[in-house]
């Protein structure tokens, strides 16, 4: 009994300390931002529903910069030259409808800076009026594949500014497999690729003011809630950042997060598998230890 009373005192002070340095201190240090479900309430929905057929015609204005691989339209420039021209490589639009919110796309086409909540954008404003933009958005939605891979969602929404070195992803694509010359150790192909990535990064940093961080273990560095609310509205948590609101839909974000978690926290499934086994083992251990203790101490008092 006395042991339990003492345990109560120890646990109480331990928990107070824990509460103070973890939940309480972090609530003071970090601004709490409520998650709104990628609804983009500040943006207006277009008056009339978009018409994909009209959008298919209007998309002609887009393909002078963007490719749409799934429709057989190639990007007019390679990534590095595009970054030199626009600051960042314009995305291929094949998966746009699968990752982005339709209302957001319509607003973004009218004014990228307004929808993206940034001061400047490589994409010019007014590429279409409100209705034309809604049509293009509807068209992009109509050509989007039903199911895309988590990594494809990431590539489209994040992968042209952020590298993921633990997955060998660079801003201009996957690092190719190359082989060094056996006698000299020189790997020219790798050097050429690195030079391209380097040039792209310089262009990107010039455009954004700094190089966006590598996202390899961002899930461990920021946590689920921060990432979600940050992607929803970067300005809320990092005022003045050059990162635009990307306008992902709920499903699009889930895909992106799935990819980031797989790369950044690869041990999660293993933890979930091994954890219960280890805990169960120690519960069994504690039971046997208790029986031993009781048998040893039984006749001591």
């Amino acid at each position: 009994m006395k042991d339990l009373k003492i345990l109560g005192v120890v646990v109480f002070f331990t928990l107070v300390t824990y509460w103070g340095v973890e939940p309480y201190a972090h609530s003071v240090m970090h601004k709490h931002v409520e998650f709104e479900g990628f609804k983009y309430k500040d943006l207006k929905a277009p008056a009339k529903k978009g018409d994909p057929a009209k959008g298919k015609v209007a998309i002609a204005a887009c393909v002078s910069c963007h490719g749409i691989k799934s429709q057989g339209i190639k990007a007019p420039m390679d990534a590095v030259s595009a970054s030199a021209a626009y600051g960042v490589n314009p995305p291929d639009l094949s998966n746009a409808g699968a990752v982005l919110d339709e209302k957001f796309i319509a607003n973004f086409i009218v004014s990228p800076t307004h929808a993206g909540l940034v001061k400047k954008s490589g994409m010019p404003a007014g590429m279409a009026d409100a209705q034309g933009a809604a049509d293009i958005a509807a068209y992009l939605k109509s050509i989007a594949p039903k199911e895309i891979k988590p990594k494809e969602a990431f590539e489209f929404a994040c992968g042209r500014c952020h590298a993921v070195r633990y997955d060998k992803w660079t801003q201009i694509g996957q690092t190719p497999k190359t082989k060094a010359d056996i006698k000299t150790g020189v790997d020219l192909k790798k050097m050429e690729f690195d030079k391209k990535v380097g040039q792209y990064k310089l262009n990107l940093a010039k455009y954004l003011g700094k190089l966006p961080p590598d996202l390899s273990i961002i899930v461990r560095a920021r946590g689920e809630h921060y990432l979600k609310t940050f992607v929803e509205n970067p300005q809320n948590l990092l005022h003045g950042t050059a990162m635009p609101r990307v306008g992902v839909s709920n499903e699009g974000y889930e895909k992106i997060y799935k990819y980031l978690e797989k790369v950044g926290d690869p041990s999660k499934p293993k933890r979930e598998k091994v954890g219960p086994i280890v805990l169960l083992y120690f519960v069994g251990f504690a039971f046997l230890a208790y029986m031993w203790y009781k048998s040893q101490w039984k006749d001591l008092h």
Binding site: F285, L288, M291, W292, S295, Q296, K298
Partner: protein
Amino acid sequence: MSDRRDFFGKALGAFAGLGALGALYAAKRTWDPLPSVKAAGFTTLDLSGLSENKLYVDKWRGKPILIIKVAKNSKPNEAPNGNNKNAYEDPRLISVGGHKYMIVIGLCTHLGCIPDYFSDKHKFICPCHGGQFNAAGEVLKAPPPSPLVIPPFKITGNKVVLGEEGPEYKKLKESGLVA
């Protein structure tokens, strides 16, 4: 009473041993080669444009790979044990695009040194203990107990991928000729 005391002590000891085994398993897995090391275990050799009777060197899983496009006449100049057969006739050579190649791991089967090739003599001599091999990797002179080892390979056109087992490799393996 004292039996009961002993029983739980022993049971606990046994249970702790079980836990130690689990920890040992995890430790064993930690000691295993990394997935990235295993994934890098493939090397592609391009055999087009090699000259006859010249030694080419590449690397596979960190080990040197010796390649010779064997000439029609590859008799070792002197044969220590009377074995002066033409290496070109050796069943261990690998035929790619109408030519015969020796592709072996370049580590002497005695103690792992790299034998030197003397193209004028059509044979290898190991610098460490004087073992000799012909241009097909067969032993001419001890101490090496067995021929130079043929790595798992797969032929695709004019190229050979090391690390994969193709039908030609499997055939050699079945005949007991790879090592």
